[in-house]
Symmetry: none
Subunit: 212 residues, 4 copies
DNA sequence: CATGAATGAGGGTTCATTCAT
DNA sequence: AATGAATGAACCCTCATTCAT
């Protein structure tokens, strides 16, 4: 409004900022609706309503429903990756602390996005489907799996983990997180506390067996 | 009354046999299609085709799409329950063997119904949704959870399991099975081998920690 | 059973009697269901159930749904005609008595078949429709109209009725019966009493005007 | 704010006008199709065709088939009420003139909407049915009945009508109109002329009896 | 660009009719 | 001739997508 109110380089940023804000509002609304209804049952109209725009506007930002879905998933995956990308995570200290930090990070993310996380968990299995219209799904929990693998490799290198079943450990790391998440969500409607991280680590390292 | 024996108890059983066969064919086709497409995307027409009947026939056996879905789920739950109902499972021997038998039984079931099992796992999370039209879903994996709880309780009683995190153990038992299942299904398109049971048991009892 | 129990002229009547009984049962059931649901909403299966036969059997007696409907209507028309065919109706006595007997007869019929009568009344208007599949409907209330016309003609001949609006009188005779019927049915769920006949006759002869 | 006058209050009214026009087109088409086919046999597709819109559009304006039907009926009832709401109808002059005006008004309405009027008449009886899914129908001919009752009450007060059968008079007023209507429609495919009003009034006041 | 009404293919469901037993 | 399961055309309705304003 101050200067460059014409067509100069000052207007473009304004337009650009509005565009970004609209896009963000749509993505947020889409996440909310996908989370509440599930991917299959989420309707474009409800997303538009929630975002405060007209349905047509959705199509100005995303090619179609699939693209919107994909964008939501990618956005979430990107955010999880960011959270887990902290190099300090693996860097230092005894293995048990690395492990606890890993669990804590994922639990934090579950807290922040637990509804959508539920969908991600669910959708992981959707991979095996023959879709009516084939749809590319990103590997959503890939960052988590990748980090789990790095963690296990690191643990084995340090001699903190036995090597014999090492192929299963990443799977179990993720499975425990998912299992706890599902249990809490079904039982209390809320994701697990970050404070559960040490118990997860203890089980992962020593199992449930009695003789310690 | 006697002469009717070729007409009463002779003909009726035929009709009845055909009915049962048709019903079974529909359920099987429905399981296949629900598994391949997911619950939301399964179309009645495809189920009918797969079953080798007309669409209308589906409605002679099941009230509507929901009822068919429910019947498939109940059938599967019933079968899993049957499989896990074997009292020998918990009865005798050292705890590690009980544990291995439990894992083996569930892995067997996954082998038999792996496609549908994928859906069951997926649907467990569907519980938290706000459905458009509310739908009663049976607690499909309940039998598995229940048995896991019994197993843990038994292990704690025998001193084979530490009591401190016992509230988490059933969740982890199931989560490990689910995690392994998902990994195999995504990686190879096939469920895990029953032979994995001892490795599952080992991890559950001793964890991944290195000092044995 | 006594003689001719073979293939002779004694067996045919038995078969014939059974056929007639079945046919009658179907017609009765059809009347009931048509009356309860309306012609459009009456389903063949419900008719079969009510008649105590299988659906297929309906088609052994009637070509299709339309034919069954037609048969019900014709049956009812025949019965009304029979009731109104009594020659004593027009034969003797002062006109007002003829009139009262006419009203009483129709009211009787309404009592006996009031549900179906409601349909007949309703269907009279269906004539003007463009049917999806053209269907021949019999002139169901024709007997009633015909008798009304005879009655009016007789009244005019006797000098009991003014001639000037005589073309309208049969219409009004029937309309009054129908109006009373509809009113009672809607208000009380029951057809009018036969005892209303004199009031109908009085209105028809003298109108509602005050100066007598 | 001022410049928007081509965009705010200028564009909105356009959309609004189009909406109203579309809604009106749908209602008109629906009246035509309901009238031509009857309520049960009217198909949404035909209504859409007749209105020049797609099927989906019908559902942008009305919740479902029932709601559309209801809207048509209410619209018609509203219009009849408007037509009969003229206070001059009962206000002045000798009773016979009030009566003739009443008949004339209803005959006018029959002229304007004779097809739908046929349905209204028919549907009045539908009330007594056990519907598959219960459906609220508005009291469509209520305005006509109500006015008939007022007219009779007024006539009795003025001493123009005998009080003894006054409970039947409104029924007969309506019945005569309906009877005449049905007769003309069946016989000529057209509703009765407004010019019939005096004959209706004469019969209502004096009946058909000969001695004047 | 935003808007939101129009579109119409697609899916669930019903039910008159057929036909093998 | 009776049976009743199978059939599939026909209908209502949904909702992703388009496009004129």
């Amino acid at each position: 409004m101050n200067r460059d109110s014409g067509n100069g380089p000052g207007v473009q940023p304004l337009r650009e900022r509005v565009r970004r804000a609209t896009r963000a509002a749509i993505l947020e609304a889409a996440e909310a609706v996908f989370s509440a209804r599930g991917f299959g049952a989420a309707r474009m109209e409800e997303i538009a309503e929630q975002a405060g725009v007209a349905v047509g506007t959705l199509y100005n930002y995303f090619d179609d429903r699939s693209a919107l879905l994909l964008a939501v998933l990618e956005e979430s995956a990107r955010e999880l990756e960011e959270r887990l990308g902290d190099p300090a995570l693996l860097a230092e200290g005894p293995f048990v602390q690395q492990l606890e930090r890993f669990f804590a990070k994922v639990l934090e993310h579950q807290q922040a996005h637990f509804r959508l996380f539920a969908i991600l968990v669910q959708e992981e299995l959707e991979q095996g489907r023959l879709p009516a219209r084939p749809v590319r799904r990103p590997a959503l929990l890939k960052p988590m799996h990748r980090l789990a693998e790095q963690l296990v490799a690191s643990g084995v290198r340090q001699g903190a983990l036995r090597a014999e079943d090492a192929d299963l450990y990443p799977t179990f790391l993720v499975a425990m997180l998912r299992g706890l998440f599902t249990r809490q969500l079904c039982a209390r409607g809320a994701p697990p506390e970050v404070a559960e991280a040490p118990r997860l680590a203890r089980f992962f390292l020593h199992g449930a067996g009695g003789h310690r």
